[in-house]
């Protein structure tokens, strides 16, 4: 656990950080976000004593960092510097191997670790031999990230670690980052200027403005209850959509909105059944529970009874781990307002309905107003 | 001639005696209406080059140096002082340089030892040779590069006296540093110049040269012919310099070296005492 107590830092006249008190939970990811120049980097650097505060105290695991040996302190804290700061005279390998070497790991172990890290940051192993000047901006940043992770520190300070990385690599990195975090449970402070990233990765988000802490809460809470106009503005006009990205489909399954039929059932029979049950959707499921196709009952002017049954043998499906925003997007793409949800093996688990997505937001609102 | 019209540049090399002699020339000339520029302390060859290239007008030089070094005749040894003077004067005429009257003082090379050591080494080169040969490798010689290198230098002297000197007994070094070196016992025999004022200062004894091995170094003023033609009175004015013998010169040098009186003052005091100015 990291605790900042009334921390203030001035640069000349400018109060870069003002009376900041903050408790960062062990094993959690805290995202720092705020306008540029609001003091995020300064705060980070105070935690590993690159900058000494003018006032206040900082405790790591209950012990003041100012009573600790700075070098030892910093070795226990991984640090991804904002302007990357790779050592130009070292190869990528040597840059990453730096801290393990300081800690006198044996070379075999280092070799394994570096390979592992290069893979983690989605760089080919051949990059080990390159020099920083030969890398593109995003490649450099990924090496900087690997370097900070190298010795597996308990605390990680990450100053815009994905700032220059393209969306594909970024989402890969975010995924593997979250995956690792789930098992290793590090205490992570992560500065970002990407509000989506803050929402996706953060257990908590600290919003700063002009040296002050404005709001410090769980992402959901911040999205649904922005403290003031500034936060609202920061979250963007589409913050309600963003909130949906935090919700997994698995929690919004509807198992009553459809009928299941065996594959190959007579269409007229299905039509009949749907009418009786007052449903529009029938899903063809085989004996193993695997979804095979989808029947929709649609209005039709050509049909005598004003309705026709369409069949789709390769229906668009969602996975239970997709989030609501993905579901919404897929509904927009297909024009359907409900989509079957299946397991990775293809087993049907239910459907997700557009109305439910809306209901979810409503419910959150209602909850708040109690 | 008004003072100021007669301008002249006086040179002097970079050791005490030269400063004394240079100052004397300079005082005498300026007392006689010359506007003197002093160019003292130049390296030996540089001083001579200065004269040859008309950047200096006159300075005190030694016959032996001119003969061996400037005229490149080191291999022809002439031991008659007057003959040497005549030969040098004659040959240098071709270079546009006039040698004024020589002084009896002979600032030749010499070997000196600590006074305490005279008991052991004796007071001549002959006795030194004997001691040295009886105690091979014991005596350390501090010798200047010039003397070491010259055909008529150190090795020739050793030959002449039958001194068996090993290479390892010789320290080539700056002549100025050799006094401290012998005083501090880092060498036992120093190459010196006979009129050096530091000999009494450091209580050193010059060994005699029974075989007259060392060449002659009589002092005389060298003037460029051109200047002498222009100011023939110079010869007359500088005549007192030809009076110096070893003792009187060494005394003046001693005043500078040991009593630390500025050379210029030593020169002026002497000229005043002699009633020359």
């Amino acid at each position: 656990m990291i605790e900042l107590k009334n921390v203030t830092k001035k640069f000349g006249q400018l109060e870069a950080v003002h009376n900041l008190s903050l408790c960062l939970e062990k094993g959690k990811i805290t995202m720092f976000i705020g306008p540029s120049g609001c003091g995020k980097t300064t705060t980070l650097k105070m935690i590993n004593r690159l900058i000494e505060p003018d006032e206040g105290d900082i405790l790591v695991n209950g012990e003041s960092i100012f009573t600790q040996e700075p070098v030892a302190l910093r070795r226990s804290i991984g640090y991804v510097i904002q302007d990357v700061g790779l050592f130009p005279h070292y190869s990528v390998f040597d840059n990453i191997a730096l801290v393990p070497r300081l800690l006198k790991w044996d070379e075999k172990r280092i070799q394994t670790r570096v390979d592992e890290l290069l893979d983690l940051v989605t760089l080919n192993a051949s990059y080990g031999k390159k020099y920083p000047l030969q890398l593109s901006g995003g490649e450099q940043q990924r090496v900087g990230l690997a370097r900070a992770l190298a010795a597996d520190p308990d605390i990680l300070l990450m100053d815009e670690p994905f700032g220059a990385i393209d969306p594909i690599n970024r989402s890969k990195l975010q995924d593997s980052f979250l995956e690792i975090q789930e098992t290793i449970q590090k205490t992570i402070i992560f500065v970002t200027h990407d509000i989506n990233e803050a929402i996706t990765l953060g257990d908590r988000i600290a919003i700063m403005n002009a040296g002050h802490l404005v709001q410090y809460d769980e992402p959901n809470e911040i999205l649904q209850n922005p403290k003031d106009d500034f936060v609202e503005h920061l979250l963007g006009a589409d913050r309600n959509l963003k909130a949906l990205s935090l919700e997994k489909i698995r929690d919004y399954l509807d198992e009553d909105a459809y009928l299941t039929v065996a594959p190959g059932t007579n269409p007229e029979q299905i039509k009949q059944k749907l009418r009786t049950a007052n449903r529009k959707l029938a899903l063809a499921v085989d004996e193993n529970g695997i979804l095979q196709g989808r029947y929709n009952l649609e209005p039709s002017s050509t049909q005598a009874d004003g309705e026709k049954l369409s069949y789709d043998g390769q229906p668009v499906v969602m996975s239970r781990n997709n989030n609501l925003i993905e579901a919404l997007s897929m509904m927009l793409e297909t024009g359907e307002n409900q989509l079957p949800v299946v397991t990775s093996k293809g087993k049907l688990r239910g459907v997700i309905k557009l109305t439910q997505i809306f209901a979810k937001v409503e419910a959150a609102k209602a909850e708040k107003n109690i | 001639n008004r003072k100021g019209d007669k301008t002249i540049t006086v040179g002097a090399k970079d050791f005490t005696e030269q400063y004394v002699l240079g100052s004397m020339i300079s005082v005498l000339l300026s007392e006689n209406g010359f506007n003197v520029t002093e160019q003292f302390g130049t390296g030996s060859t540089i001083t001579r080059e200065g004269l040859e290239t008309a950047q200096t007008d006159l300075y005190a030089e030694y016959t032996g140096t001119a003969w061996a070094v400037y005229l490149n005749r080191a291999d022809e040894v002439i031991s008659d002082p007057e003959l040497l003077y005549d030969m040098v004067k004659a040959e240098d005429a071709a270079n546009g340089i006039v040698w004024l009257a020589p002084a009896p003082m002979n600032n030749t090379f010499a070997l000196a030892v600590r006074a305490d050591d005279v008991a052991a080494y004796g007071d001549s080169l002959t006795s030194l040779a004997a001691y040295n040969n009886a105690h091979p490798g014991e005596i350390i010689f501090g010798i200047s590069h010039e003397f070491y290198e010259r055909a008529d230098g150190f090795w020739a002297m050793a030959d002449a006296y039958g001194m068996k000197v090993e290479e390892s007994q010789v320290r080539n070094m700056d002549a100025g540093l050799s006094f401290e070196a012998i005083d501090r016992g880092q060498i036992d025999v120093a190459m010196v110049f006979a009129t050096d004022g530091k000999l009494p200062k450091f209580n050193l004894k010059v060994l005699t040269d029974p075989q007259n091995f060392f060449p002659i170094y009589n002092m005389a003023v060298c003037v460029r012919q051109e200047i002498l033609d222009q100011y023939p009175e110079i010869e007359e004015i500088l005549a007192p310099l030809s009076e110096f013998d070893d003792e009187s010169m060494q005394l003046l040098n001693y005043k500078v070296d040991a009593e630390e009186i500025p050379a210029e003052k030593v020169a002026r005091d002497y000229l005043e005492a002699e009633g020359l100015i």
């Binding site: - | 970079d14 160019q39 130049t42 390296g43 200096t56 630390e260």
Partner: protein
């Protein structure tokens, strides 16, 4: 004679030689810098030429001062400049070439590639990049070279007495030949004093030349 007596007796001579030494360095050091610095800038972007110039400067540096003076007495004689101030100035210039050009060359070639790239990308010409970017950023290293050269110059100026230019060298050299330690010490102390003063002046110059942005350290 006590040291104090010595100072009294030699007072005027010491003062004279001190002033003369000062004259030598105030004339020669600016000249030396004006020769060496442009040469350094010239070679900074020409590695082949630089190799030649630096090697040549190294050779010049190895010529013993006495030999250099001997050569100049002859070479400069036709202009009546072989003795006195001129050879001193020439010698000081000659010896300053290596430390100044080498540091300039090294400094200019290690300016961060990304800064140079930014300058090139903004459309600065070679000359502009040199004068506005590379040189200001290299001031500390360049001035380290210049200050070394200057100190060397103050020191080489002592040899000026061997070519009749006088200066504190005449105290030192006649002191040595007279084994007059006081004279040597006074001469050496005054040379050192000049060295410190000149060093200090160049420190002020360096401070003035160093861009404000480079002096900011956290």
């Amino acid at each position: 004679m006590s040291f104090f007596e010595f100072l009294q007796v030699y007072q005027s001579k010491i003062w004279l030689e001190f002033v003369q030494h000062l004259r030598i360095i105030t004339i020669s050091i600016p000249i030396a810098i004006l020769i060496s610095a442009p040469l350094g800038f010239l070679i900074s972007s020409r590695p082949k030429l630089a190799k030649i110039v630096l090697n040549f400067a190294s050779i010049l540096m190895t010529i013993p001062s006495l030999a250099l003076f001997g050569i100049m007495v002859v070479v400069l004689a036709p202009f009546k400049l072989g003795l006195g101030m001129t050879p001193a100035v020439v010698a000081i210039s000659v010896y300053s070439i290596l430390p100044i050009t080498r540091n300039i060359y090294t400094a200019l070639n290690q300016v961060s590639p990304s800064i140079v790239e930014a300058a090139v990308g903004l459309g600065m010409s070679r000359g502009q990049i040199l004068s506005q970017i590379k040189i200001p950023l290299s001031v500390p290293v360049i001035m380290a070279g210049v200050r070394n050269a200057v100190i060397l110059g103050v020191s080489v100026a002592t040899f000026a007495s061997l070519v009749g230019a006088g200066g504190l060298g005449s105290l030192i050299f006649s002191g040595i030949s007279r084994t007059n330690l006081k004279m040597v010490v006074v001469g050496a102390l005054l040379v050192s004093f000049l060295g410190i003063v000149v060093n200090y002046l160049f420190l002020i110059l360096e401070d003035a030349l160093t861009p404000a942005g480079l002096k900011i350290k956290n």
